[in-house]
């Protein structure tokens, strides 16, 4: 086989790869992002402490993040707190009594914290310092 034939074969392969590459990109883009899927990235992922994406937060919020990271099995910096609101829970079980559970009948100040972890949303109720956490 002479060199001219080999060169033509390589040229055809190269042209084929160009078309394959363009088609691959086209087919990927035609499968647009899922409306209900989690984001691929957020600007708060692993943001350094003190930055506009990672300001100091109340102890209960820190504890909820640790709880979520441990349960879901991802690094703490990948836990995104969507919302964190102060709440008064109706009892010592944070309004989430289990079957046959006795709960102190006293209003308990705490937090309702919604986190996003591995694409899932979890809502936690905590007491004031986050030493008690229950998933809603």
């Amino acid at each position: 086989m002479n060199m001219k034939v080999i060169a033509i074969i390589f040229a055809l392969i190269a042209v084929g790869m160009i078309f394959w590459y363009l088609e691959e990109i086209r087919s990927r883009d035609s499968n647009r992002g899922n409306y209900d899927s989690p984001p691929t990235a957020t600007s708060a992922d692993n943001a350094p402490l003190g930055s506009i994406h990672n300001l100091p937060v109340p102890e209960a919020v820190i504890q909820a993040k640790i709880y979520a990271a441990t349960n879901v099995g991802i690094e703490l910096g990948k836990i995104i707190v969507l919302t964190a609101y102060e709440k008064n829970w109706p009892d010592g079980c944070l309004g989430l009594a289990r079957a046959d559970e006795f709960c102190t009948q006293v209003v308990t100040p705490g937090w309702e914290i919604t986190v996003q972890a591995k694409g899932e949303t979890h809502i936690y109720r905590t007491n004031g310092d986050g030493s008690v956490i229950r998933e809603q």
Binding site: A7, D29, R32, G33, T42, S43, P48, T83, A84
Partner: protein, 270 residues
């Protein structure tokens, strides 16, 4: 000579197989919007309360100075609390998200080809409603930075204590010199968007048919601004009916009986 030609063809073929489309040193994971021409226009859905509108306008004007990007602000379709994304554009929302640790956050969705398909920016009024963040400088910095992320830009610098770089893409303790993009940000955008794609992930219309339009579950009827346009009111002004168009022919009607005349008057004038 023939052998040299052969080697060149082999190298050419290998390069094609591993082509890299982005070469930028503070791009965000090489993510970028797919588009077939430059400059391209990204729609920013305004789901903001009126006090935030000037900051979005400033940010939109700033980033549109880029040679590769234009932004246009269009009406939002979203509940600012949930701020769900719309394919092909960015939704910009403000709300009191609580003491969650962020002044602002940008989220992007990327398809298998590495192209951004949708994005959201949320700014947190829990912090912006009080000192030290209730200033023009902080609001400009955060809005500018989060929208910059939506284009695929990362931070230029993550050292809080060095001299400000004069860009909103700088982590800093001093927002005043960092309220707008700088020349390097525009250069980075040119680097990210030099190449063209064979398709686009940008919205070509205001909504995508059947998807990306407002769903009834997205409407938060606790918010008066979510009720839409007032279409009827009683002669004594004690009751009103509002209509919100969700797209696709879907509408939500809200019937209100006002507790007192003053409330009715206030809301007619909003």
């Amino acid at each position: 000579m023939k052998r040299k030609v052969l080697y060149l063809l082999v190298v050419f073929a290998l390069v094609l197989g591993t082509v890299s489309v982005v070469d930028a040193n503070h791009s965000w994971g090489s993510y970028h919007w797919a588009r077939t021409a430059n400059p391209f226009t990204l729609k920013l859905g305004d789901n903001l309360s009126p006090s935030w509108d000037p900051f979005l306008r400033t940010t939109s004007n700033d980033w549109s100075l880029s040679s590769v990007i234009n932004t246009t602000i269009i009406g939002g379709l979203k509940n600012a609390r949930t701020c769900k994304p719309t394919l092909g554009r960015a939704e910009i929302c403000n709300y009191k998200y609580g003491r969650n640790g962020w002044l602002g956050i940008a989220s992007i969705w990327v398809n298998g080809g590495g192209h951004i398909t949708q994005g959201i920016v949320k700014v947190n009024d829990t912090y912006f409603n009080s000192a030290p963040y209730n200033t023009t400088a902080w609001k400009n910095l955060v809005m500018c930075q989060e929208v910059g992320h939506i284009f695929g830009l990362d931070h230029q610098d993550e050292d809080f204590n060095n001299l400000p770089l004069g860009t909103c893409m700088d982590y800093t303790n001093d927002p005043i010199p960092n309220q707008h993009p700088n020349a390097h940000d525009y250069e980075m955008l040119e680097g990210i968007y030099t190449h063209l794609d064979t398709t686009t992930t940008l919205s070509q219309t205001s909504t995508f048919p059947g998807r990306g339009v407002l769903e009834p579950r997205d409407v938060n009827l606790d918010e008066i601004r979510e009720w839409g346009k007032q279409i009827k009111k009683s002669s004594n002004r004690r009751s009103s009916m509002y209509e919100k168009d969700l797209g696709r022919g879907d509408r939500v009607f809200t019937f209100v009986v006002w507790a007192d005349q003053e409330a009715s008057t206030d809301n007619r004038e909003r």
